[in-house]
Amino acid sequence: MPGTVQSIERAAAILQVVAGSAGTLGVTDIAAAVGLPKTTAHSLLRTLLGVGFVEQDRVGRYALGPGLLRLGTSHLDVNELRSRASNWADALASRSGQSVRLATLEGGDVVVVHHVFRPDDSAQTLDVGTALPADRTALGRVLSAFAPHRSTRGPQDAGRAELSTVRTRGWATEHGEHTSGTGGVAAPVRGSTGLVVAAMGVTGPLDVVLDRHGQPRARLVSMVLEAAQAVSRELGWRGQRVSGG
């Protein structure tokens, strides 16, 4: 078979052997089963252990790892996300007095998956399903900054520096770039594996969102961070970090 990668084939064979075993297997059994020298098998197993596809018990025998089991279920359904986030989104809108949105990346687009009205009973329209500009909204900036396969090439422009700031700081803002007179703050929502699966944020009148120095009000930022972390915990994220990638 031209074009195949030998080490991946060997790793796959090892996984098949481990998966086919009733209990745990030692490295000698595995090496014999796939017809490899013990040192080669050991080196492949170390790599599989590192990515969580196998795990070792106390006496060093191997079984399939939790990382492999999570592969099939790591996709987070957006309707599931909305259902899990709903109470926290309502509470954020209620406390902040502003409208709340959750967005995810679909393909390359930033798409609104949940929207809670500003609690003033004014006429508002649900914009679930609407695509937002990634570079001009706080939600888009969060998703771009934390995207797993973001481009590292390209010009070293202001945009890239800003995304780097968002990653370090753990939240993003908008100052009327998307809708004139509207500001916003957004923060990342993490899934159980720690990957950023959504962005959650508030938008409102510029003078409500920003202080006289043009900085987002600290109280609003902490409300958004708390809500986004509450949703992350709801999704099974047990990490402590609130900023950085």
């Binding site: 957006v78 209620s94 809670v116 009205f117």
Partner: protein, 498 residues
Amino acid sequence: MLAVDQGTTSTRAIVFDRAGRMVAVRQREHRQWFPRPGWVEHDPMEVWANTQRTAAQVLHDVGAAQGEVVALGIANQRETTVVWDRVTGRPVTRAIVWQDTRTADLVRELCARPDAGIVAERSGMDIAGYFAGPRLRWVLDHVPRARERAGRGELLFGTMESWLVWNLTGGPDGGVHVTDVTNASRTSLMDVRTCEWDPALLDFFGVPAALLPEIRPSVGQLGVATALSPAIPITGALGDQQAALFGQACFAPGEAKCTYGTGSFLLQNTGTELVRTRSGSISTVAYQLAGEPVHYALEGSVAVAGALVQWLRDGLGLIATAPEVETLARTVQDNGGCYVVPAFSGLLAPHWRGEARGMVAGLTSYVTKGHLARAVLEATGWQTRDVVQAMAADSGLALPALRVDGGMTTNNLLMQFVADVLDTPVVRPMVGETVSLGAAYAAGLAVGLWADVEALRRNWHRSAQWSPVPARAAQLTAEYPTWERAVALSIAWGAPYP
């Protein structure tokens, strides 16, 4: 404000602030007992212990000092029946839950009596095993010496709010034995016009007056919960669906809410005049403020709503979680000609056909699991239309908008379908915990935390709205007879084979 929501599966204690926002919540599930097919029971002692525990925890969470939590309101699962010994405080048997069907034979006997007509005439509702009266009669007939002891005044009867108020106010040591008028209206024993126990109905069901609680308004002093620390006055109690109506601030005739949970419960405020039903909805008491006239409601209870999505998940394995039904439904554009009638154990409002059985109609090889998912969601929308049409026929009141709550309201496809099928805006409030909020509102209103219902109305804020699309609404009106035909087939399927 402290609210206790004593529900079918769990008991929740929630603290709300003056703006009607949730501050803290504690929840504890209780065991479901299924001693025989069709029987469902709860242990009243366990429910009482959970109430004490969650209330103590939530008061501790907020660090409440004496006087800071000004009142306690209770909302409860309706029609669940408790009978206990007034001296020992022990129940004579486990609580018989509203889902329990053991009284079916008794109800058939009662319906066959020549004087059966007085029940609908006086209580406002036909005889049905759904209500508490037949369950109380069952206890008196089947628990050893119960009837004799009840006659001597040794036993007390109540729905869950009675049981909890009695225990909270001292139990055997001076506990107050009261029920709120909304719960009393679900016993079949109360005259729905005077809101007093009706001697003719007590006679019909064979229930001695000695064991009945005193009927009180939903909003007003019930007693002081000395079992809590700090002690808190109990000033509100409502059945859970009436509490949701109150929490949704449906205070004007015509205003209505629908709670989409396992089943769906639509209540429409009909004002202070009792509406006699002919079209399959129930006339019930909505609430009463102390010193004011009773407000009535029409109710449409649908047994299966979210439970159908659970069936898609657990019975068919087509989805991994309930919210994924929307993802699956969005893989197609329409129902592909498929209709699902979820008559798993008959149909409640507005049909009241216990014999009906579930039906998937319109299958062709074109139909995929996506179409089935859509038909499952549409079934809840079609059933809402069935109920709304029956109510409109009975009350003559227009439905300005439908206020919704419950787990299914995060499903945008369903909520848009409901708006289109009713040709009415559907709105969701900012506080989804409408049952607990309604209990808190009732209690807070009684102690003057809020001046009047208008103040409560100002607390209500919209978190989402789905507006009907005219072309789609017209299309669904044209399609409605097809749904009605599917319902007729499911009723025919369950009828005795000739």
